[in-house]
Symmetry: C2
Subunit: 250 residues, 2 copies
């Protein structure tokens, strides 16, 4: 028995997210696409464990997943075959053997998400699939001030989408890093945390955007974190701007 680890990139636009859906099966999931490709190559029905779900339309440059197999196919051959079968929106960047105990989900110590905003007068045909177009003037100082309130250990009950089917046992998460960088017309909001609740990265990006637009004050974020209540204006930034950049294992 071998344990195989995959580092995966995907353009999530045309997919219903990472997780296989039992309902709403009109769109394919990333996990399903990779499991099907593995079944064709290895003739085994496998379970692919991802580091976590990404929502419909969310992208990844460093999703991590693992699966166990009885096959002794050479790793290099498996890599080429997988990329040969997978749709072009999904690429296996790296593939390697992992210790038999490695679990991509439970062993993850932190994740880095990036939210990208295209802040220009006119939209772009070149990054329209990967950046949220926002033509309004944004106050970068207010955004940076807003972002800093997130750093540290907080209850994020005001910053995620409650979902009966996947109730989190606790809404407490630790934000290790938030940075906002402007590169030309693109603004990248990087958030590293020990874990993310459902829609949490998009709610955080949404709150930072509202602060940049002057619709909330940066201090409103502190209030929401302290009171565990939604700020008067809540906003979930659209999925197309979000990308899972890296999963860290300690």
């Amino acid at each position: 028995m071998r344990n195989i680890k995959l580092i995966i990139e995907y353009d999530g636009t045309d997919f219903c997210g990472w997780q296989i859906q039992t309902k709403n099966r009109n769109k394919y999931s990333i996990q399903e696409a990779i499991q099907k490709a593995l079944k064709i190559i290895l003739k085994e029905t496998l379970i692919l464990t991802g580091s976590g779900r990404t929502d419909s339309g969310v992208h990844a440059k460093g999703q991590v997943a693992n699966f166990k197999t009885h096959s002794d196919i050479p790793i290099e051959k498996l890599h080429k075959s997988l990329n040969g079968i997978l749709p072009h929106q999904i690429r296996i960047k790296r593939i390697e053997r992992a210790p038999i105990s490695f679990n991509a989900r439970f062993d993850a110590s932190s994740k880095l998400y990036r939210y990208t905003i295209l802040n220009s007068e006119v939209g772009s045909p070149f990054c329209g699939r990967f950046a949220f177009f926002m033509p309004n003037r944004l106050d970068m100082d207010a955004m940076r001030k807003a972002a800093r309130y997130f750093i540290g250990r907080h209850s994020f009950s005001a910053f995620y989408a409650k979902d009966k089917k996947r109730n989190a046992s606790s809404a407490i998460r630790t934000i290790k890093k938030v940075s906002i960088k402007k590169e030309g017309e693109l603004i990248n909001i990087d958030v590293e945390a020990n874990g993310f609740l459902h829609n949490m990265a998009r709610r955080m990006a949404g709150a930072i955007l509202l602060a940049g637009l002057g619709k909330i004050s940066p201090n409103d974020i502190k209030k929401s974190l302290d009171n565990h209540k939604l700020s008067p204006k809540k906003y979930t930034a659209p999925s197309l701007g979000l990308c899972l950049m890296k999963v860290n294992y300690s």
Copy 2:
């Protein structure tokens, strides 16, 4: 009568190129899409003059076009309406009044094309529409040496696609600049010339690629330019990697 100048960006993937096609009308052209949008807004049938044709699948970040109109619609309103109607793959970046004599095609003094290669082991879902994926090892020195031979005034009869319908009166063109830059896994070949023949930019990129792969020697390019003959191996690099970056007017 006003003369209006447009600076246009487009993702050419889904289009049959700039020029309206009379045959093969199963794909839309960029010119047609913009002319139709102008007709809806201005209620006039206009002729849009582009700086030159771009082939099917070729992109632009700085295509220039002009048209004459009797309408006195404010420029800002026309800009917003155009981007509102046009498909998302086409954006009007800028719009301005031009002197009545301005002609986007005949007044162009030079054009800058960029050919982008993704030189990595694995393809990318993020730049797959805009870069030619080449996993083989490329000799950058050979590519730069090959590129330098193009600089200056030459007959490019070995480096374009002869076409009965659009015979060029002369194959002599002047290459003002060729530069090759590597940024991470992307290689950008920039070529500025006073004009480009049909497929010339892709044939030049193809020859530089062949030199990088060691399939021709850089000196073979000099021979082809001097003898006006095709090199023993000719290669037209795929259209998806090519982008019209800028049109200069003196």
